[in-house]
Subunit: 127 residues, 2 copies
DNA sequence: ATAATACTTCAACCACGATTGAAGTATATC
DNA sequence: GATATACTTCAATCGTGGTTGAAGTATTAT
């Protein structure tokens, strides 16, 4: 038997991998405040431009960040939070880690073992 | 200038690092459903006992999981979600990634640059 | 005592990804 | 055209951490 996972779980796992990086959290934090160009992020985080670029690329591929070029001077790029996907992220996270999902112990193993259906165990997420 | 971070941001970063691991997400998912012993987790996830042990140890050190031994047969250990810390986790995550925190662009750099106070940029989290 | 069970710890291996430093691209200014 | 700016991409290095396989610990059963 292979543990089947819902697509949302996979997506959540991918997102968490992207977020599990202090620098990227800092970048997102700055983007939430409206700071958006590469050089400014670099100045605030004391980080080389290519690293900023790299992390932004990861965030962009994950769909968490959007990019736009300056209309007047196309050398400047501005980054912004992708709000719909951020909302999807918070929804997925809140749903997966919802404390209300915690069930009491139902031993199917060990001294007090009783029968427990597989659906009850594996099918708990998504609800 | 070094970017100062709030303690909650550090803690969130640590938690995310722990969560950015598919196996650990699967383990947490099973624990939410009440499955709690090592052998059972291993059976459901098709994972060697020492790996289960390793990942549970990481989750335990992060404060997300609690451990308890069977009263009748002390060889069996039961794992459970640490509810208070799970609630702290969801609260920290929801607060950090709250879409309402997204501010419009306030260019302090680039062609349309205007003055922007540092407090506005860096002090956005926590509120 | 001996053996089996349930789990943990250890050391070696290996892969992924962040960092580094340099070269490359595109646009704007002189 | 030549230089400067803003950013991206590339190849190489390096550390962290998951995996592997084995040995170790604690408890129970025979």
């Amino acid at each position: 038997m292979t543990a089947t996972e819902s697509p949302t779980t996979h997506q959540l796992a991918d997102w968490l991998k992207v977020l599990a990086e202090p620098r990227r959290l800092q970048i997102l934090n700055l983007l939430m405040a409206g700071v958006q160009c590469n050089c400014e992020l670099g100045a605030h985080l004391d980080l080389a431009p290519n690293l900023i670029s790299h992390h932004l690329s990861v965030l962009r591929k994950a769909g968490l960040v959007e990019v736009e070029r300056d209309g007047g001077d196309a050398r400047w790029v501005y980054y912004a939070i992708n709000r719909p996907n951020l909302e999807a992220l918070t929804a997925a996270f809140a749903s997966f880690f919802d404390p209300a999902r915690i069930l009491p112990r139902q031993p199917s193993c060990g001294p007090q073992a009783t029968f427990v259906s597989d659906e009850l165990i594996m099918g708990s997420y998504p609800s």
